[in-house]
Amino acid sequence: MSVLYRRNIPIAIVFVTVLFFLWDFFVTVPGINTKSASTILTNWGTILTAFTLGFGAVNLFMLHGKHISRRTKGQWPFSLWMLIIIALFTVVGVSTGATSSQYSWLYNSSYFALSATVYSSLGFYMTSGIYRALRAKNIESGLLLIVGIIALARNAPALVAAFPIIVPWEAWISAVPTTSAQRGIMIGAALGTLALGLRTMIGRETGFLGKLTEAERG
């Protein structure tokens, strides 16, 4: 029973689903519309995802409820604030609808602004990362330093005006070594995905099922 429940049924579901989607992608049979079936399957995924949001909400309330009741130092005020915000969004969303002007105002003037702020802070993180990375410690980092300086200079209009030669240099670096390396990585990743997909389909890749015993692994 354990092997059936923990290994065989999940793998059978994966196997059938993958075959169905492969069929849908590669084969077309006149008179049979598999598109609607694949859309239904995709919708099931979306519904399951929406259902699992409940797990997420329960987890948030359990964890942060504990912090509040234990008055965890440096944490509990944030936990309390977060639960208040969840309650506020839920009340406004349920009572006025997720497309109402009230809910949109709440979302745009809180989350949207904060999200843009966090995204903008990326510039500072990148600067500090680059500051450490652009040091010629060995041949590789030396090359990175040279290429980095060329790319930075190409994006500085004053430097482009002073040294127009950096435009074709940067274009060549982007079009030849960078693109070829990216494509190599892409091909490797695609083949890796295929191998992982096949291993999962035939039940050899069981990492996502958790730690199986020898008997369960088969």
Binding site: L22, F25, F26, V27, T28, V29, T42, G45, L48, T49, T52, L53, G54, F55, G56, A57, N59, L60, M62, L63, K66, G74, Q75, Y111, L114, S115, V118, Y119, L122, Y125, M126, S128, G129, R132, A133, L144, Q182, I185, M186, I187, G188, A189, L191, G192, T193, L194, A195, L196, G197, L198, R199, T200, R204, E205, G207, F208, L209, G210, K211, L212
Partner: protein, 258 residues
């Protein structure tokens, strides 16, 4: 019958699968050798350091979702999560897995529980505290992870999965608090960020090889050999394509459009 424009792709898919299955069969007779993946070899050291300092290990699979084309990266990350959880359980180190997509929560909880059970420490696993759902919004999730980093100061940070703009936010924040970091992603745009900040890096296909590398299962390892043969085939096709195109022939181009 077959969709026009996808016949060659189907042929290639079948060929690659045959190579992989062949590699698995061969591996039953001779175990393939692996090249060293420093990032995966460093995991016990990372967990050991966390045990020495009494700090937790943080793990994230990024913005992976199960019903998009990023699912394979998420699955690869979960395989490593299982391994790291067992190591942490054995060494008495707390592992915190932060969740972006709620659909991953039940899977991760089961997986980590099984890892703790396998290590004989089932009673030490606290799902509410160790599998934390943060948010399904990218920057809310990023900010929450940064908050955990600042407050709980994990000794190690492992990031395997699909990452977007938050990659640098994570890598830099954990660098600042002194965490030892392993990052792996198949998203080309984020690899350079991880490469310059993190201590160890898994590039693209290496994350898919992680479960085979860590388990030392000969059949899984054999699939990697098949994958390498497929890579050779891709290389040969590219060279033939370059030569044919240089000679003015469009045979291969037409074949690809079949």
């Amino acid at each position: 019958m077959f969709v026009t424009g996808r016949i060659f792709a189907l042929g290639m898919l079948v060929a690659v699968w045959i190579f992989i299955l062949g590699g698995m069969e061969l591996a039953k007779r001779t175990m393939p050798t692996f090249r060293k993946l420093a990032g995966l070899d460093a995991i016990p050291e990372m967990v050991g350091r966390a045990a020495e300092t009494g700090k937790p290990v943080h793990f994230t699979t990024g913005l992976g979702e199960l019903h998009t084309n990023m699912a394979s990266q998420l699955i690869a990350g979960l395989s490593v999560l299982s391994y790291v959880s067992e190591l942490c359980a054995k060494d008495g180190v707390k592992i915190i897995y932060t969740v972006y997509q709620s659909q991953v929560m039940p899977i991760a909880t089961e997986l980590m529980k099984a890892a703790y059970t396998s290590a004989g420490k089932a009673e030490e696993f606290d799902a509410d505290d160790q599998v934390r759902y943060l948010s399904g919004e990218q920057f809310a999730y990023a900010a929450a992870v940064q908050g955990i980093a600042e407050r709980e100061r994990p000794a190690a940070n492992i990031m395997i999965g699909p990452f977007y703009a938050e990659s640098m936010l994570f890598a830099e924040t954990f660098y600042r608090i002194g965490s030892i970091q392993l990052a792996g992603t198949a998203r080309g745009y984020q690899i350079p960020f991880f490469a310059v900040v993190c201590d160890y890096l898994l590039i693209a296909e290496e994350i898919y090889a992680a479960s085979a590398y860590l388990s030392k299962d000969p059949i899984l390892a054999g699939s990697l050999r098949g994958q390498d043969v497929a890579k050779l085939l891709a290389l040969v096709l590219m060279i033939i394509g370059v030569i044919l195109t240089a000679l003015g022939s469009s045979v291969l181009n037409n074949l690809l459009k079949m």
